[in-house]
């Protein structure tokens, strides 16, 4: 009798906790969906607006669906209308940005890897000070260095050029890339370097043959970081370049702000998406290489 009573009360409890769990689960989904839509909303507006004609934009609302897939504004944003003077479009600046980003990311990553390697595996007197000063570079407000940098670029004869921008981005990327690589190499056992030295490998051989092959995860992190930073940079681009040498973010700004006639929201939105897409592509492509622990196994089991 008592047993029955007990088991029935357990059943009640079980029932109750089942309802509570179900409610909490649905509440969780509700909150998640709410937040997700909050984040996706601007992108949605951009995409639909870019597919509308100006007529539709004027008559419909922000959220209304376009009448069809109309890619005309994309074509205009990318290639212009072809009137010649005063017609700004993204294509040349897109290539400017590529020409700036690829070498800048490459050099800053490579130099960061080298400095990180030296700061961890070839310790020297005062190396922690060097690292500290490098870290300052991460915290300096970039506005503070605009003027001296402009003078430097002028003196080097590379102001208002892609080469100049590559230099600026490489220099100001090094503190971050060094930080990344240093923190990664700190966890790589120094005994690897010792073993390689006894085996007769020198400074560069150890770097290229032993450390670089196990650096894939941190290289990916650094490349994504640097690519995003440099691609999205507006401050350096707008300060150190104008006209034909400008990177895409500056061109986008000029395009959106300088139109004298009617604001073409559809073209503006298409341009903004074009300017943002490469960073998205880098995330999608490189994201899967975020694999941790490639060094596991070199150390103890």
């Amino acid at each position: 009798m008592q047993d029955n009573l007990k088991s029935s009360s357990y059943q009640q409890l079980e029932q109750k906790s089942k309802y509570t769990n179900m409610f909490l689960r649905w509440f969780l989904y509700f909150v998640l969906i709410l937040f997700a839509s909050y984040f996706i909303f601007p992108l949605y507006v951009m995409v639909v607006t870019s597919l509308k004609t100006m007529e539709e934009i004027r008559q419909g609302t922000l959220l209304s669906w376009p009448s069809g897939l109309n890619f005309e504004s994309w074509a205009v944003a990318w290639g212009g209308r072809g009137y010649g003077a005063g017609d700004t479009f993204l294509k040349p600046y897109f290539w400017n940005s590529i020409k700036m980003v690829v070498p800048a990311v490459f050099f800053s990553t490579f130099i960061g890897a080298m400095t990180g390697y030296v700061l961890t595996k070839w310790r020297f007197k005062g190396d922690s000070w060097v690292f500290l000063f490098l870290l300052f570079g991460c915290f300096i407000p970039f506005q503070a260095i605009l003027l001296p940098m402009a003078r430097t670029l002028g003196a080097l004869g590379i102001s208002n050029s892609i080469v100049g921008l590559v230099l600026v981005h490489t220099v100001y990327g090094i503190p971050f890339t060094t930080l990344f690589f240093r923190n990664y190499y700190v966890s790589v056992p120094t005994e690897l370097v010792k073993a390689a030295r006894i085996d007769g490998a020198g400074f560069f051989k150890i770097f290229f043959k032993i450390l670089l092959p196990i650096s894939a995860p941190i290289i990916v992190v650094t490349v994504i970081w640097q690519f995003t930073q440099i691609w999205n940079d507006f401050l350096f681009g707008s300060t150190f370049s104008f006209g034909e040498a400008a990177p895409i973010q500056v061109a986008l700004n000029n395009m959106v702000l300088s139109s004298t006639s009617v604001k073409e929201y559809n073209v503006d939105m298409a341009s903004a998406i074009i300017a943002g897409v490469p960073t998205l592509i880098v995330y999608v492509l490189a994201g899967k290489y975020f694999i941790r622990g490639l060094t596991s196994g070199a150390v103890k089991g």
Binding site: P189, E191, L192, K194, A195, A196, R197, I198, D199, G200, A201, K205, K209, I210, P213, I214, L294, T295, S296, G297, A298, V299, K300, G301
Partner: protein
């Protein structure tokens, strides 16, 4: 000709003196173990022999040639590390031949060496594997193999077994011993484990605070420790050091512990210097395993001590006794039953004792 000779070697990191005037010599084919607590400078000494650390003062000679300023790769040494330090991106084959390739050895010679060594160490089935796909013992073997293919004059081992679990450690210890018996190469081996040191070494150098305390055969280290540090460091539990003084009357020397009312004769003891022994403050050292429950030698000295504590550890038991308010430990087979808080008759083996000056803590 000494295979390895270290002369007046000093090393400091900033203001910390790590090694102080180290002198050390190793004959061909010897297995020298550098033993000491962590921070005693033993690994630094090994790194200096390898050429991975610079020297502040003194010299290192290999085969009578001063190698103090020679690069690690040209010292004709090979080293096995605690973490094995296998190159993670290379497979076993590439790991093992990396050094030979750097030295521009001919392809045939490399293949020949690789085959010989990998067969010898039974890693020939693993050549295409990455280090991450190997077990702890296999990694250890590959790391030794990488050292072997170079056919060095001296092998350096830096705590190679401390990352292995207890069972594997005993196995690998035997393998290293076998390896040395077969190859007869000179070895310098760093460890903080006294069992490893005792079982592997033909000579042991005990280090503390950057100084070599004693460099001797395992037997002498155990039986005739040169100071209280060595006496205390070697053995488990360590040697009992009973504080007291010596008394000399009509040529017979005896020891009396502080506060005790009986004398222990030490007539069989080999003093370094027989003068000025009367009233000398000393430590009387006797190992727990040399205190017996039954009289076994004619010279055994009989004492009655109160048992305070018993620690059972399976095959044996460690008993704590009170000797004139000083704790002393004794080790017996666990079959012996001893009642606590009672006087028990024990026998000190007087052929196995050590005496240390209480001031200098050196053996007398």
């Amino acid at each position: 000709m000494k295979t390895l000779k270290i002369e007046d070697l000093s090393k400091n990191f900033g203001s910390t003196e790590v090694l102080k005037k180290i002198n050390l010599e190793i004959d061909e084919g010897n297995f020298l173990v550098l033993l000491g607590p962590s921070g005693c400078g033993k690994s630094t000494l090994l790194n200096i022999i390898a050429g991975l650390e610079t020297i502040n003062e003194g010299n290192v000679f290999i085969d009578d040639y001063n190698v103090s300023k020679v690069e690690p790769k040209d010292r004709n040494i090979a080293m096995v590390f605690q973490s094995y330090a296998l190159y993670p991106s290379m497979n076993v084959r590439e790991n093992m031949i990396f050094g030979l390739k750097q030295a521009k050895t001919s392809k045939e010679k490399i293949e020949q060496q690789l085959e010989k060594v990998s067969k010898f160490l039974q890693v020939d089935q693993l050549l295409e594997r990455k280090p991450s796909q190997l077990s702890g013992g296999q990694r250890q073997r590959v790391a030794i193999g990488r050292a072997l293919v170079r056919e060095p004059r001296i092998f350096l081992f830096d705590e190679p077994l401390s990352n292995l679990d207890a069972k594997l450690r005993v196995e690998m210890r035997r393998e290293i011993k076998k390896l040395h018996q077969q190859l007869k190469t000179t070895v310098v081996y760093v460890t903080h484990d006294q069992t490893e040191a005792m079982s592997l070494g033909t000579r042991i150098a005990i280090m503390n605070h950057g100084v070599i305390q004693q460099n001797d055969t395992p037997e002498n280290i155990y039986n005739k420790p040169s100071n209280t540090f060595v006496a205390d460091f070697i053995g488990s539990p360590s040697m009992n050091l009973i504080k007291g003084s010596l008394k000399e009357s009509s040529g017979e020397i005896s020891f009396t512990a502080n506060g005790s009312n009986f004398e222990i004769p030490v007539k069989g003891y080999e003093f370094k210097d027989k003068s000025n022994l009367n009233n000398k403050e000393v430590f009387f050292g006797i190992r727990p395993e040399h205190i017996y429950f039954k009289k076994s030698n004619e010279s055994d000295f009989e004492v009655n001590l109160r048992a305070d504590l018993s620690e059972y550890i399976g095959h044996e038991q460690i008993m704590t006794f009170d000797y004139a308010n000083q704790e002393i430990l004794a080790k017996f087979p666990s079959t012996i039953k001893i009642e606590l808080a009672k006087e028990t008759k024990l026998f000190f083996d007087l052929t196995q004792t050590s005496l240390f000056d209480a001031m200098t803590e050196e053996r007398i």
